[in-house]
């Protein structure tokens, strides 16, 4: 299924703007293509975990990765279905550089009727030098009547 890029872009932007927690963190959508989404969050003093280092809290990266993964899965399947995180594994390679914006890219590499499988990376500039990586599975809403 092919999604009109303009429609996908507009819907992705809404998935960020209409989410209170995404707004509270100051997240912004960088780009979105089917199964591939990029978002960013700027460094802010009130989002720091350890004030001795000025490094952003891991939770900020966790939320950014969760959100960008959901966006990638949403864009990979039949668009319009909301998605819910089933599980998310995050590896923290190194502390984020204080004062720098963090970018996260997610790629949904497989989507079935009910589940999207996704990988993501968080970094400052170079995707090959990640702050954190994530691997997750997302449920396409409506696919699981138990939820």
């Amino acid at each position: 299924m092919t999604i009109d890029p303009a429609v996908l872009g507009a819907m992705s932007a809404r998935m960020v703007e209409d989410t209170p927690q995404a707004k509270a963190l100051g997240m912004r959508l960088v780009s979105s293509a089917p199964g591939d989404a990029v978002m960013a969050v700027a460094w802010r003093a009130d989002l720091v975990g350890d004030p001795a280092t000025g490094v952003l809290a891991g939770g900020v990266i966790t939320t950014l990765l969760d959100h960008v993964c959901g966006l990638a899965v949403g864009g990979a399947g039949a668009w319009g279905q909301p998605v819910a995180t089933l599980d998310l594994r995050i590896d923290y390679m190194r502390p984020a550089e204080p004062g720098r914006e963090i970018i996260a890219r997610a790629q949904c590499y497989k989507v079935t009727r009910s589940i999207g499988f996704v990988r993501a990376t968080a970094f400052e500039i170079d995707e090959a030098d990640p702050v954190a990586t994530a691997q997750g599975a997302f449920v396409l809403a409506g696919a699981n009547p138990a939820r």
């Binding site: 927690q21 975990g49 809290a57 950014l64 959100h67 998310l88």
Partner: protein
């Protein structure tokens, strides 16, 4: 709970801006700690349900693990997260969320911690987290 312990914990929380951003607090009863995350609209990830953002639940449980380690290993530097696996069991509703951390192992450098978060019923958790945390001060990561 000893006064010293309680004051030490308050100092840990006060020193972390992101804890204040989330609005979380902790309740210490002896050596048993419960983390508390009161609901506020800014924590919502899905406005239709509404449901807490999955990242918020993950972050809350990760912070619970870090604070519990700080309480249990006061001599060490603030621990650093190596990895976490977050499982989402139910949507986090517009209610106060609680979490408790179970420190499964504390090694020389690394700790393994399991966390469970619930809302109205402890037996029906909304999410769970398992993670590894670096404890040693001299370890470059």
């Amino acid at each position: 709970m000893s006064q010293t312990e309680s004051r030490r914990l308050a100092a840990i929380l006060e020193s972390m801006p992101y804890i204040r951003f989330l609005g979380m607090s902790v309740d210490l009863a002896g050596d048993e700690m419960t983390a508390i995350l009161p609901f506020k609209p800014a924590l919502v990830g899905n406005i239709l349900l509404p449901a807490l953002h999955g990242g918020v639940l993950g972050a809350f449980m990760e912070m619970t693990a870090l604070i519990q380690l700080g309480v249990r290993e006061p001599a060490r530097r603030q621990p650093r997260t190596i990895d976490v696996t977050i499982e989402y069991l139910r949507p986090g509703r517009a209610l106060t969320t609680y979490a408790r951390a179970d420190v499964r192992k504390v090694g020389r450098r690394i700790a393994n911690v399991h966390v469970e978060a619930w809302q109205e019923t402890r037996a029906s958790p909304v999410a769970a987290l398992r993670g590894h945390f670096m404890l040693s001060a001299d370890e470059a990561s």
